[in-house]
């Protein structure tokens, strides 16, 4: 429980989340969402919830990213809005 580390990870999580929803390139958004997942995983680990962090790393950053990339590869890469 180091509050400085908590703060740094929280800031990175917020930056990644805002970047993921504002960027136009959907493939880049997926990769940033993977980075968001990894920072979230670090935050869970730092708070002592190792099991949740494990799930976040394997599902959020591992399989979720692959599923999103598969969905992007079936549709268009650029978003209109």
């Amino acid at each position: 429980m180091i509050w400085q580390l908590d703060l740094i990870f929280c800031i990175f999580v917020i930056i990644c989340a805002i970047a993921a929803i504002t960027i136009k390139d959907l493939l880049a958004a997926v990769i940033i969402l993977g980075a968001y997942s990894f920072f979230m995983c670090l935050l869970w680990t730092e708070m002592g919830a190792v099991d949740v962090a494990f799930t976040e790393a394997s599902v959020g950053a591992g399989v979720g990213t692959v599923l999103f990339i598969a969905a992007v590869s079936k549709t268009k890469r650029r978003s209109k809005d």
Binding site: T55, S58, V63, L67
Partner: protein
Amino acid sequence: MIIKRTIDMTRQSDDVIVKTLSRLLIPFIQIYALYVIAHGHYSPGGGFQGGVILGASFILLVITFGLDNALRRMTERLNTILCSLGVFIFAGIGLLCIILGGNYLDYGALDKIFHVGIAQARSLGILGIETGVGIAVMAVMTSIFLDISTGGLPSTKERNQSD
């Protein structure tokens, strides 16, 4: 200008580095997944996480070696059977506990068939449950990926490619 660029994730990769590296990596990923499932009682991890990692190894196989090679190793039919088998193991162990006189998923009742003591019977029961969860999650993750990346018809695509 619209950039028309489609990536077919189920095509076999041409890169020798990617193929060699994934051939080396896939067995270790699977061993690690089995470790996570088997040590789920007393360390982080368990059936769900191990199953996801096992499914990820199969997804890596599809991405690098193509859908045809992957479906030759694990067909859609086997995938569906594994989906149901995992749920069957989970519910079966739970119902076995009811039959042996306990509550649903009360592993202590399994002592009557294993004869290893109540604590050890609970440990074995949890291992059985997590094996079932791992099998089901692995099959479902693979199935979701195949459905998304092929547009819902993996076996039809395989048939069209072989023609």
